[in-house]
């Protein structure tokens, strides 16, 4: 199997981000179940025939409406990143453990990797792209992350900031210990935790509405 065939990859306009072009053949191969423990026992895929696989849905993201056709199995994270070019939300573990994909659904944090897009109609979805008040101004917590070195590689940062904003808004930034507990759903492999906590504390002490 040729996984590294260049035909399977394209480069986006910025010329720095590689992603897999999902040719149906490759996806089909990757989706094959492991053979061990399954051979002879796995029932044939039995989706009722003739059902429309794609659904036309409308998602309200960052105060804009997006009309899109999705398969029921597409996660919100994949739709954001692969279909709508909202690539701020990151795919870390893809299993709800790392928090890199954290978005706000109706004002509350959620792991976009575990949400099915088809279930998110009529919800207000906010991603890191929708947090700043205007294109030329950062959200106070974004500024604080810069000032307090709340990042190193930056991969977890969008999720950290989305969780950090919720921690501030929900009143869980009363102490360092409380911030650490309420930020525990966001993992940082670089270990920028002390800067992250400092940034959240700085905004909390600043007393500004976030």
């Amino acid at each position: 199997m040729e996984y590294t065939n260049h035909k399977n990859y394209i480069i986006d306009g910025a010329g720095r981000r590689w992603f897999l072009k999902q040719s149906s053949a490759l996806v089909g191969m990757l989706a094959l179940p492991p053979l061990i423990g399954q051979a002879g026992t796995a029932p044939a895929s039995s989706v009722p025939p003739g059902l429309p696989m794609k659904r036309a849905i409308t998602l309200r993201i960052n105060r804009k409406a997006y009309r899109i056709e999705v398969e029921p199995r597409e996660t919100l994270l994949d739709v954001l990143r692969e279909r709508l070019d909202l690539i701020g939300s990151k795919k870390g573990c893809d299993h709800g453990q790392c928090g890199a994909c954290t978005v706000h659904i109706d004002g509350r944090t959620a792991n976009a990797c575990l949400l099915l897009a088809v279930m998110q109609q009529d919800r207000d979805i906010t991603t890191i792209e929708g947090l700043a008040p205007s294109p030329d101004r950062l959200h106070p917590l974004q500024t604080a992350f810069v000032e307090h070195d709340g990042l190193q590689c930056g991969f977890c940062t969008p999720g950290q900031i989305m969780s950090g904003v919720a921690v501030l808004r929900e009143g869980h930034a009363g102490s360092t210990a409380q911030i650490k507990e309420w930020m525990s759903g966001n993992i940082c492999r670089c270990g920028a935790y002390s800067g992250i906590v400092d940034a959240i504390e700085a905004v909390q002490k600043g007393g500004r509405q976030v």
Partner: protein, 329 residues
């Protein structure tokens, strides 16, 4: 993820009517979608119940009724819950992460799979995932696994997974009742009977039938009010499953135990309670000696494996610590 069909319903009766064995209900999806990504769950159709009007938290004459679709985060923050049943709020906040608690529902938390790493690993045998295939954990790496209530049967039915929910441990100590609706009508299942030990069918975590829907949870007012505490022992400070946990309620008057509940997490296929042990404590002095004797009785049947023998002592120490904490609070 395998392709599947999707339908959203607006009435509980429609959810039940449309249900078939190869379908699954979905609400928060935090456990189900994860399992579907690993193709451990491969439903043909998802029935979206997330918009059913079952998310209220209501005070009743008998206690509190919580809708099955109330979010874990909302229940943990609800003033009536924190006032009357702080044990439930503590256990909910000890579980998962803020993001997951925002998504997860009460019914979904009850239904999260009893599981271990071998359940997730399709290259390993697992009687829960593939009935009859064996158990990778027995003879494997079994530090997190069960010490109590494990199946004694043939290798084809053995299972030593633990139920990972903190909420379920608290609900067990609170004598909660699960309200269910199905094709034959409604039924009420005490939570201590809702989850099951593996027995000969470890693939079944609960007594719920495939076409039954959880509609709510009742928390009955305790006959004798007391105090409560949830002690969770884990490998890191936050966002980890319990190695061992204890949910306890204790009412003491003049130094004597009036009423007590003790439920253990992290040690069995379901929250572990022995009602007889609790009954025997009533009338005895609320002392370390009494607590230690009860702790011994609760783990008396323990059958540890290679890496988890430490849990036998840890569970007893945690029980004593939890009871002492309540008794002196």
């Amino acid at each position: 993820m395998k392709s599947f069909d999707y339908v959203a319903v607006t009435k509980p009766a429609d959810a039940v009517r449309l249900m078939e064995p190869q379908f699954r209900f979905i609400a928060g999806g935090t456990n189900l979608v994860d399992l579907m990504k690993y193709e451990i769950e491969r439903p043909d159709r998802l029935i979206d119940i997330s918009r059913l009007p079952l998310d209220r938290i209501e005070t009743t004459d008998a206690g509190i009724r919580i809708g099955a679709l109330a979010r874990n985060s909302d229940v943990a923050a609800d003033p009536a819950i924190t006032r009357q049943f702080p044990l439930l709020a503590e256990a909910l906040l000890a579980g998962a992460s803020p993001q997951l608690r925002n998504m997860a529902t009460m019914g979904g938390n009850l239904m999260q799979r009893t599981r271990c790493y071998y359940f997730y690993d399709a290259t390993q045998p697992c009687n829960k995932r593939e009935p009859g295939s064996g158990c990778g954990a027995i003879g494997g790496f079994n530090r997190i696994h069960a010490i109590l209530g494990t199946s004694e049967g043939a290798a084809k039915t053995q299972c030593i997974a633990t139920n990972p929910s903190d909420m379920n441990v608290a609900l067990s100590a609170l004598d909660a009742i699960v309200q269910v609706t199905g094709p034959k009508g409604t039924r009420a299942i005490p939570v201590i009977d809702f989850h099951r030990l593996p027995g000969d069918t470890p693939e079944r975590d609960t007594v719920l039938e495939a076409n039954e829907l959880i509609t709510g949870l009742d928390l009955p007012k305790p006959a004798i009010p007391g105090k409560s505490y949830y002690l969770k022992v884990r490998d890191r400070a936050s966002y980890a499953f319990a190695v061992v946990s204890v949910a306890t309620r204790l009412a003491v008057e003049n130094g004597r135990i009036q009423d007590v509940r003790i439920a253990l997490g992290g040690v069995a296929h379901k929250p572990w309670r022995i009602v007889e042990v609790e009954k025997n404590m009533v009338g005895k002095a609320a002392t370390e000696e009494t607590f230690r004797a009860a702790a011994q009785q609760l783990v008396a049947g323990a059958k540890p494996h290679e890496h988890n023998a430490f849990k036998v002592q840890l569970a007893q120490s945690a029980i004593v610590r939890a009871l002492q904490t309540v008794a002196t609070s």
